[in-house]
Symmetry: C2
Subunit: 170 residues, 2 copies
DNA sequence: GCATATAAGTCAATAACACTGACTTATTTT
DNA sequence: AAAATAAGTCAGTGTTATTGACTTATATGC
C-alpha cells in the first residue's frame, strides 16, 4: 500500500509538483550536466587530464589562496584522490603551493600563469555554452534557474558558491 | 590580446551575461548535481551498485521497451561499459530483455517488479529533494530552471527528454 | 540470393577516478 | 606537555569508463 491511487495522484496545488514534473526535472539535470561537462572533458583530454584536474584548477582559480582542506570540502572527495590530481598539477606547473604565514601548517594554493591560461580556456568555452542558454531562455528564466539549483545544494554548502559581484535581482 | 579591458567588460545589456554570472552558474551546476546524485549513490551502495546501474535502471524504467542502442545513445557511454552494468542487472533480476518481434536483432528491455521497486525507491528520494527545491523557489522559477537546462542540452538530444504529461506552462 | 549494414554481445587490455585504513610530520592550540 | 589540526604518504582495492578487434544474428538494398 505504498502507491497512491491514480485518481488522486494528480495534485491540483501547483506547489506540490507532480511525479512526471519531477522526473522531467531529473532528466533535464542529467542531460544538461552530461553535455555541459562533456565540453570541458574534451578540451582537458588534449592535456592528458580529466574532469578531476579541471575541477581542481577551476576552484583554485576561483578561490585564490585556498587551502587543501577547503578544496577537499568543496570537491567532497578523499585526500588521497585529490593528492594524485594535485601532485600532477604541481609537478607540471599549473598550480603552486605556499606556506601560510599565519598558520604554517596550511598550504595555500594558486594558479600559475600556465594554470590560469588553461583555466580560462576551459571556462570560456563552458561560459559560451551557458551564455547561449541564458540568452535563449531570457533574463527571468535565468533567475529561476539559479533559485532552483541553489535550493538543490545542501544547506551546509551553499556558502561555498561564489556569488556574482552584483546580483541580477533579489 | 585576448582579454577585454576591465572598463568595457561589464556589459549594460542584460542579454549578454557577465563573466561572474556565468561562473556562478557553473558553480551552481556543479554543487547541485553533486548533492543531487550523492543521494542516489548512497542508496545504491546498499545494493552494491553504483551510479551507472542507477542510470540504466532509471532510463529503462522511464522508457519501457527501450533497445540497447537507444540506451547507449542516452547514456553516451560505450557498449562495453553498459554491458558490464546490464549483465549484472539482468543476472540479479532487475531487468529482462525480450527479442523484438518486428526486428529480431533488437533486445527490448524492461524492469522486473524487483527492478521497479528499486527504481521507485531511488526516484522517490530524489523526487523529494527536487520537490522541496521547486516549492521553495516557486512556480515561476521552476519554469526558468527547465528552460535554461533544456537549452544546455545538445540540440540533437533534446528529443530524448521525456516531457511531463501536461506542460505547466508554455 | 548475395552483399552490406545494423544490433547485440564478447574478448583482452588499459586508464581515470574514486575508495579505505593506517601512518608520519609539522604546527598550533589547550 | 598533550591533544588537535593540516598536510602528505603508503599499500591495496573497486567502479566506471575507455579502445580495438571480433563474432553472431538479422535485416535491407540491389
Amino acid at each position: 500500500m505504498d502507491e497512491q491511487a491514480p485518481w488522486v495522484q494528480q495534485q491540483a496545488d501547483p506547489l506540490v509538483p507532480r511525479d512526471d514534473d519531477l522526473r522531467h526535472a531529473m532528466e533535464l539535470l542529467f542531460f544538461a550536466y552530461r553535455d555541459f561537462t562533456g565540453e570541458a572533458d574534451a578540451i582537458l583530454a588534449d592535456y592528458d587530464m580529466g574532469r578531476a584536474h579541471h575541477r581542481a584548477i577551476y576552484f583554485i582559480g576561483a578561490n585564490t589562496g585556498i587551502s587543501v582542506s577547503e578544496l577537499l570540502a568543496i570537491l567532497k572527495i578523499t585526500k588521497q584522490s585529490l593528492n594524485r590530481v594535485l601532485s600532477t598539477l604541481i609537478d607540471e606547473g599549473y598550480v603552486v603551493q605556499e606556506t601560510d604565514d599565519g598558520d604554517r601548517r596550511r598550504r595555500l594554493m594558486h594558479l600559475t600563469p600556465k594554470g590560469r591560461d588553461l583555466e580560462q580556456l576551459v571556462t570560456r568555452r563552458q561560459s559560451a555554452h551557458i551564455a547561449r542558454a541564458y540568452r535563449e531562455a531570457g533574463l527571468e528564466a535565468t533567475e529561476g534557474f539559479r533559485r532552483v539549483l541553489f535550493g538543490l545544494i545542501n544547506e551546509a554548502d551553499r556558502h561555498r558558491v561564489t556569488p556574482p559581484a552584483t546580483p541580477v535581482r533579489t
